[in-house]
Structure formats: C-alpha cells, structure tokens
C-alpha cells in the first residue's frame, strides 16, 4: 500500500520534470519549427507503408506505369511525375523519407550508445584503460568515413544495414570524447565519493550516478548524429554506391543525374534535394532547442527563473 504510494509519487516527479523541459523546448521557435517539419516527414515515412497498397504501379522500386516510357511532369496520377522508366516519383520520395529515418535514427542510436558507454568507462576508469580507448577513438576520428564507405562499397555491394553499421562505427568517437570529459568532471564530485563511501560498486556508480547526468548530453548528440548519418548516406547513394535494392533520396538524385535529366526535370531533381536539406535542418533545430533546455545559460533573460 504505502509502497505503491511512494512509487506513483516518484513517477509524478519525472513527468513534472519532463513537462518543464517540454515547456522550454516548445517556447523556442527553432524547436517548434523543427518539430513541425519533422512531423511532416514522419507522416511521409508512415505513408510510404500504405501507398504501395494502391496497386503495383505505386511500388517505389518496381512499380512501372505501363503507359509511360519516359520521364513526365506532375499529373493527377503521378503527383510529382515519373522517372525515365515510368516509376512514380512521389512514391519514391515517401520511401526515401522512411529510409532517411531508418538510416538517421539507427545510426545515431548505435553510435551514441557505443560512444556513451565507451566515454563513461574511459572517463571513469582512467589510467591505461582510458589511454587505450581514447587512442582507438582518435584513430576512428581521423578516418574519413565517406572515403572508406566508398572503397568498401566499390568492393562489395553493401546493403543498407551494413552501411548504417559502418557509419555508426565511424561516428562514435566524438560522442565518447564529450561523454568522457563530462564523466571526468562528474567523477570527482563529492556525491560520487559519498556513494563510494557508502559502499557502492563501480558498476552502480557508473549507471546510477554518472549515467543520468550524462544522458541528456547523449540525447543532444544523438540529434546531431542523425543529421550527419543522413547526409553521408545521401552522398554515398548519389555517388552510386548506395544499396542498389533500396530507393532513397540520394538514389533518386543519382538516377536524375545518370539518366541525364539533371537540368531537364526540375520536378525530379528538386524534391529529394529539398527533402534532404529540410530533414537534416529539422534535426539540427531540434538539437539546438534541446541544447537550450539543457543549458540554462542559453535561455533568454525573461525566461530565467
């Protein structure tokens, strides 16, 4: 009885903390704009699951309109027109949104989880462990990820998941650097020592005391990683080394270029380009707004408590 009362009260507090942060976030015009753009793209990504149900013509990869043998402009049947073999561009655009989300979010997730874990261990353990982990991070940090992806992709046909994994592997070091420095400053705080005096194990100190303090920062870097991952994947696909079985915005641009429609078909060239810019922009704006939630110094004077 008593027990459940305590727990429910506890949950209320974290909800309260969240609503407070949310209020600051949504007050920020950048956060609001970013969120609206993001919602539109989410809607597009969700729609990509349903559009192919309209008929085989609307399959992004294989749906060829039998009546069309060349690229046509916008029409009632094909809202954005078709590409050179009669595939619907709007459907491809929706599919691209889905792929961008998958690539961006899973890349960011993998690299941030990896980076946070390594950063916390490195900062907390110190000494030789720290040296080894950070030298490995340095090595990964100086590797040019796009070039390495290009080389690997020219040797083997990489599926989208392999590409995601490689981008994620290339992107953890900067996260782990930041988490490490945060951990270093947390490690010497008296509350960590107090918990050690109480007899807490290293494992407990890392996950109970350090992690909640670095997690907001990790989330922040996650939004910036999303942007980077989407751009790398788009660049790779545009250069023709993407997953050949997967439509993406970069791939659409590649097809415009390779089929020689670069300057003949603006209805084909512009949408994927604009989408890439807008989606990365929206994640960037989210990150900036989150930054403001985390760092009170960035807030405007009038909002100060």
């Amino acid at each position: 009885m008593e027990n459940s009362k305590y727990i429910s009260k506890n949950r209320n507090h974290s909800i309260e903390r969240f609503t407070k942060a949310w209020a600051i976030f949504i007050k920020n015009p950048m956060g609001k704009t970013g969120l609206i753009i993001l919602l539109v793209f989410m809607l597009m990504a969700v729609a990509s699951f349903f559009v192919p149900l309209l008929g085989p013509v609307y399959h992004p990869m294989t749906g060829v309109d039998p009546n069309i043998t060349y690229s046509t402009g916008p029409s009632f049947q094909h809202w954005l027109g078709t590409d050179f073999i009669g595939r619907d561009l709007f459907v491809q655009l929706l599919e691209g949104a889905k792929v961008a989300f998958i690539v961006g979010l899973s890349c960011a997730f993998i690299s941030v989880v990896l980076g946070t874990a390594i950063g916390m261990i490195s900062g907390y353990a110190g000494g030789i462990v720290d040296t080894i982990l950070m030298r490995i991070a340095d090595i990964f940090m100086v590797l040019p990820s796009l070039v390495i992806l290009l080389i690997l992709a020219s040797l083997w046909e990489l599926s989208i998941w392999v590409i995601i994994f490689i981008i994620a592997i290339m992107r953890w070091p900067s996260v782990s650097r930041i988490i490490r420095s945060q951990t270093l400053s947390l490690k010497s705080r008296p509350f960590i020592e107090a918990s050690r005096v109480a007899g807490a194990s290293n494992f407990r100190i890392i996950f109970k005391h350090i992690m909640p303090n670095v997690l907001p920062l990790a989330f922040l870097y996650m939004t910036f990683r999303v942007t980077a991952a989407i751009l790398v994947e788009a660049a790779l696909s545009f250069l023709g080394f993407g997953d050949p079985g997967q439509v993406s915005w970069g791939m659409m641009l590649q097809w415009v270029w390779s089929s020689g429609h670069m300057f003949q078909a603006p209805y084909w060239l512009l949408p994927p380009g604009i989408c890439i810019s807008l989606l990365t922009l929206s994640f960037y704006m989210l990150g900036r707004a989150m930054d403001e939630v985390l760092d009170p110094r960035l807030r405007k004077e009038e909002e100060g408590e």
Binding site: N3, E193, V197, H209
Partner: protein
C-alpha cells in the same frame, strides 16, 4: 582526566601515516614533484569521543579524513580500526568497513546527486549493503529523516536536493551517514558553507546523534571556536604535521605551539591569556 582516559578504548589508530601526492612521470616531464600532504601522523581516537582536527586550508586535515574512509590510500604507515589494519580490505570486508565508517562532506550542494531524490540518496547505503527489504528500508529512511530533524519524514521523502536549503541538505548528508548505524563518522567541515545559526543547529544535531547512537566523530575544521564547542580532544595540524594534541579546553587556554597561538589569535572571540 587520566581516569577518564584509562577506561576509554581506541577505535581508530594512525601510526606514522604519510600521504604523498606525486606528479605522474610522463614522457615530457620527470615525476619528481611530490607534495607531502600528511607527514608521519600518529593519532589515536577514543571510542565515543568527538575528536577535532584543526588546521588551516592545505594543512592536510581533509587528507586524513579521506584516508580514514579509504578514498585515498596512505603512502606509508598503518591505519587501524578496532585494532585491525584497514589497508588490505577487499570485497565484503571492505563493504563491512565502509558500513562502519562514514563521512559527511564539506559542501552539501555538491555531495548530493541532483538527479536522485532524498529517499534514493539515503536508500543507497542500505541497498548496496543489502539491508532489509523495500518496506523496511522505507521505514528506516523516514525514521532517519526524523532523527536528523527533517520531519515529517514523509514530506521530505520525495523531494529533490534543489528543493532544500543548505542546512537541510547537510541534514540529508548526515542522514545518509548514520543510516547504516556506523561506529565512526568523519565530518569534514560540515558547516563551512553555512551561517552561524544554522551551524550551531547542526552541531547540536551531531551531539544528539552521538549521544543516541554512541558514534565516534572525527570533526575536521579550521574553526577553533567550533572545535572547542563540540570536541573533547583536538589535534592541531600544520603543514601535514600534528603540532599539538590534547583536551580541547586545555589547548585553547594554554597553547604550547607557536602555530596554535597564531590560530587562536586569528579567531575572533578567542584570545591568549597573558
């Protein structure tokens, strides 16, 4: 005085404890720059007393406290608790030792994790030492909160450190230190961040706790007046060396060492007898 000393038994003994901090030897610099934080310290703390360790900033008094709770290891010398050396404790023995020796830190704003509620902070020692179950732990926490003067305990149970004042936070820190029922507590300048009235209240709390649970205190301070108010015996430490030990009143009335005299003169309200 001698009679009183005779019936007391030592709880903590330091024999020739030296702590050196050295710069690490790296590729670019030779590691020969060492700082002696404490030099050859001999100290005996009797069961049940409040022992004051007085000295200026940088005199090594905090280092001694940290050595006692094993946040640092001595470079030389032996620390004994109840006659047993503590330097080679591992695993369960170490956890057992830590449940007996607790610490109250200087800055109550830094010593509580801002992400944990008061209850989570005080529950932690109970959880890591696997004492009781969820329900008994909660009762214990509320009890302890009321002992340290945060009552009703239920009111404070779900608060977070940022919702408390400095004095209240330090009471939470005291609660965390006593929740395991320790035998010995190191109080490292617990009132240095508070104003005088709040400090007196905290002193009173420490005295109450000592009476109630028979806990021995090592009270680290730079404030001779506070040491006199609170402590049975004090030691004056200067540059890592103990220059004078004795009954608190005797030392303040009749200081032997030049440094102790300087300390007394520096303290408003205290003066040397001509």
């Amino acid at each position: 005085m001698t009679e009183e000393q005779n019936k007391q038994t030592p709880i903590i003994e330091l024999n020739g404890v030296t702590k050196e901090y050295c710069l690490k030897q790296t590729f670019f610099s030779k590691g020969d720059a060492c700082v002696l934080a404490t030099n050859n310290i001999d100290l005996t703390i009797q069961k049940g007393e409040i022992f004051g360790l007085v000295g200026q900033s940088g005199s090594g008094k905090t280092t001694i406290g940290r050595l006692l709770v094993k946040l640092e290891e001595p470079s030389k010398g032996i620390i004994k608790m109840n006659g047993k050396p503590i330097h080679d404790l591992h695993g369960n023995a170490l956890r057992n030792y830590r449940s007996k020796v607790q610490m109250i830190f200087q800055d109550p704003y830094q010593s509580l994790n801002p992400h944990l509620s008061i209850s989570e902070t005080i529950l932690e020692p109970l959880i890591v030492n696997k004492i009781g179950n969820t329900i008994t732990r909660q009762t214990k926490v509320i009890e302890t909160l009321e002992i340290v003067g945060l009552s009703p305990g239920e009111d404070f149970y779900h608060r977070y450190p940022h919702q408390l004042s400095g004095g209240q936070r330090q009471r939470v820190a005291v609660a965390r230190a006593i929740v395991l029922g320790p035998e010995f507590i190191v109080a490292d300048e617990p009132t240095s961040m508070m104003d005088a009235t709040i400090a007196i209240q905290l002193f009173q709390l420490l005295l109450d706790i000592r009476k109630k649970f028979n806990i021995t205190f090592l009270f680290i301070t730079h404030n001779l007046a506070a040491a006199r108010y609170l402590c049975n015996r004090i030691a004056v430490i200067h540059n890592g060396v103990i220059v004078e030990t004795g009954i608190a009143d005797n030392i303040i009335k009749d200081p032997q060492h030049a440094y102790t005299k300087k300390l007394i003169l520096a303290q408003p309200g205290l003066s040397l007898k001509k």
